[in-house]
Structures are given as structure tokens and as C-alpha cells.
């Protein structure tokens, strides 16, 4: 009887014909991003450790040690941060050259996979509430650089509020 049911199930699989709604494949193709994600070292490390079923504390320790020993990630992150602080100060005093330098930092961060947004072309350096640049931190919060050089760390909700204020100012 079990064999009979197995045969019937296989036949059921062969006969199931329901077609997807028309246009679904085109919709999915439109959603293909311009930049498909390429392998990322940090994420792969996490996956390997998860696959090995190591405890979370051990996994966290292994990731931190790996980043410090092999990646130099903290050094690089601090480097960006210092670069940006210096350039923002320059941006406030001497606009044109520092704007292009900041744009270069943006390019550098973006090409390294950091989720960064740069408003340099639109931000008004005289208005301290204008966001110059923001990027996502590994913990999920955002680092925001204002046009007066102030650098703050905010949550996603706070960032949305700041962006809304900025867009409202642009409209006025």
C-alpha cells in the first residue's frame, strides 16, 4: 500500500500544472538590482561558523579575532571616520575642493560595500540641519555627518526623521 501511495504521489507531482500568473517573470526581472551582491568576506565567515554549530559567544569571539587579525577592518573604519571629520571641517570653510574629496571617500566606502549615502551636491553648508553624508554601522544604527561638521550616531527611525526635515527644508 505504501508503495502504491508513493507511485500516486510521484504521478501527482508530474500532473501538477498550475501556471504562474502572466507577467510574473517580467516583474521579477525588473526587480533584479543593478549591483547583484558579490561574496562578502565577513558574511561568509559568519555562515561558516553557523554551519559548524559553534556557540554564539565562541562565534562572536572568532569573528572579532578574525577581523582584527586579518581584516584590519577597525583600522580602516576609523580611517574613514577621521578622513571624513577632517574633510567636513574643510567643507565648512572651503567648499569646492573638499566636496570632491568627500565624494571620493563616498566612492571608496561604496565600493567597499558600505551602505553610504552622500548629499554633498544638494546640502547647504550654511544650514546645520542639512545632512552631508550618512552610512550604516555594523550594529544597525547610522552615522550621520551634518554640513556644519557635527557627527552623530542615530537609529534608523531618527535618520528618517532627519531626512524628512531636510527634504521639507528643500521644498521651502
Amino acid at each position: 500500500m505504501a508503495k502504491r501511495i508513493e507511485d500516486l504521489l510521484q504521478e501527482l507531482g508530474r500532473r501538477a500544472v498550475e501556471a504562474a500568473p502572466p507577467g510574473l517573470s517580467e516583474t521579477i526581472k525588473h526587480q533584479i538590482p543593478d549591483r547583484i551582491m558579490t561574496p562578502r568576506w565577513g558574511k561568509d565567515t559568519v555562515n561558516i561558523i553557523v554551519h559548524l554549530k559553534v556557540s554564539r559567544v565562541a562565534a562572536a569571539a572568532a569573528i572579532v579575532i578574525s577581523l582584527v587579525v586579518f581584516g584590519g577592518v577597525f583600522g580602516r573604519g576609523a580611517g574613514w571616520y577621521q578622513d571624513i571629520r577632517g574633510m567636513v571641517n574643510e567643507f565648512v570653510s572651503r567648499e569646492d575642493s573638499s566636496r570632491s574629496s568627500l565624494a571620493n571617500v563616498y566612492e571608496d566606502m561604496a565600493s567597499n560595500g558600505v551602505e553610504v549615502v552622500y548629499y554633498g551636491q544638494y546640502a547647504n553648508s550654511q544650514d546645520p540641519t542639512q545632512i552631508l553624508m550618512h552610512w550604516k554601522l555594523p550594529e544597525g544604527d547610522y552615522r550621520v555627518v551634518f554640513s556644519n561638521g557635527r557627527v552623530v550616531r542615530v537609529s534608523a527611525e531618527e535618520l528618517i526623521r532627519l531626512q524628512s526635515n531636510m527634504i521639507r527644508d528643500w521644498r521651502q
Binding site: 549591483r35 547583484i36 561574496p39
Partner: protein, 213 residues
């Protein structure tokens, strides 16, 4: 050399040739998939579109077989591919594209059930079954009975718990071998086999009940 020995030698060489042909086809397919994967991971849009063309229909059907209604299946199929673009970096050479994509689909489906419960189950939206073509008059009546039997079995599958249903869908309806199906479901092979046996036993009981009624 006797005639019998000569026949056996010819059969062996024929068999060897068949195995060689099969091996070379398999290796060409693996090489093709490896190249495809390389193109995908380098951000080649054409390779991504090929992935959509090849799998969107199967993923949609998988969602329907897992009990999602048509609208939800459409949305979830889109979600599967969105996640696929994001997680493409985690796909390794040697792992199959279909196994990887179905693993994402499995997770997306589970998340959906967790978020929404089974309120949106496809009640009254059974999957259509294709009728057999080119039947002779003498076997047509048998075929009608056979189709009814299939429909009863489909109802029984729909009545299974989610975990048991997943095993039936992956192994029998989608045709994954047990080891690959277990990987898609994210469980050990032994656990998968045990669930499969439970599911078959439940189906046997249910179809007995239908036949009795």
C-alpha cells in the same frame, strides 16, 4: 570464445559506453552550472534573467503545493528572488542552484506562515491536475477512477501538518532526492526520513478513510 561470453563482453562494452556518455553529460552539466554561477556572481544580468526563466514557475508551484493561495504564492515567489539576489554571495561552487533557491523558498514560506499563521491558506484553491492525453476508450473509465484517486490523495496531502506536507512536497512532488530535500528543509537526513514515513502513514490512513466513505 563461446557465443555466450562474446554476448556478455558486447553487453559490458555497450554498458560502459552508456555510462561514459552519461558521465560526460553530467560533467558538462556541472561545468555549465559552474560557469553560470560565475556569471551570476560577477553581476551578469543575463545570467540572472536565465535563473528567473528557469525557476520562477517551479518556485511558484512549490509555494502553491505548500498551501499558499495564488496571490500569496505570487508575492512569495518575488520575495524568493529578491532574497536570492541579496544572498548570491553565499552560494558556493559545488552546491546546486536549485537546492540553494529552494532552501530560500522554504525559509520564505516558513516565515510567511509564522507571520500570518495559516489564515491565508489556499482554501478552495486546489492545484489543477493535467489530464492524460491519447487515452483509448477501454482505458478511459479506469483513468477516470485513477484521476479521482489522485484528487483524493491531493486532498489528503493538503490536510497534513505543515512539516509533514513539506517533506512530501519536496521529495515526491518536486522530485528532490532525500539528502537534497533534507538540506532544503534544513533538517538532518534521518529526521527527514522519519517525517516522510509519518507522512506516508498519515496519507495511507486518510486515503483508507476516503475509500471507506
Amino acid at each position: 570464445m563461446s557465443l555466450e561470453t562474446q554476448d556478455s563482453t558486447e553487453q559490458n562494452s555497450g554498458l560502459r559506453h552508456l555510462i561514459d556518455v552519461q558521465d560526460s553529460r553530467q560533467s558538462a552539466a556541472q561545468q555549465g552550472q559552474a560557469e553560470w554561477l560565475t556569471h551570476l556572481q560577477s553581476g551578469d544580468r543575463a545570467a540572472a534573467e536565465k535563473l528567473v526563466d528557469q525557476y520562477y514557475q517551479r518556485i511558484y508551484l512549490y509555494m502553491r503545493q505548500l498551501g499558499h493561495n495564488r496571490q500569496a504564492s505570487e508575492d512569495l515567489t518575488q520575495e524568493v528572488f529578491m532574497k536570492a539576489w541579496y544572498h548570491l554571495g553565499q552560494l558556493r561552487n559545488g552546491s546546486t542552484l536549485s537546492g540553494w533557491l529552494f532552501r530560500i523558498a522554504h525559509n520564505v514560506s516558513c516565515q510567511h506562515w509564522r507571520r500570518r499563521g495559516r489564515r491565508e491558506a489556499a482554501v478552495g484553491e486546489g492545484i489543477e491536475l493535467r489530464a492524460e492525453d491519447n487515452m483509448g476508450q477501454e482505458i478511459r473509465e479506469d483513468r477516470v477512477a485513477y484521476t479521482e484517486q489522485l484528487e483524493r490523495l491531493q486532498l489528503a496531502v493538503e490536510g497534513l501538518s505543515l512539516k509533514l506536507r513539506q517533506t512530501i512536497v519536496l521529495h515526491y512532488l518536486q522530485g528532490f532526492p532525500i539528502s537534497a530535500a533534507a538540506r532544503v528543509a534544513g533538517i538532518r537526513e534521518g529526521t527527514f526520513k522519519s517525517r516522510l514515513n509519518q507522512a506516508l502513514e498519515a496519507l495511507r490512513r486518510k486515503t483508507d478513510t476516503y475509500q471507506g466513505s
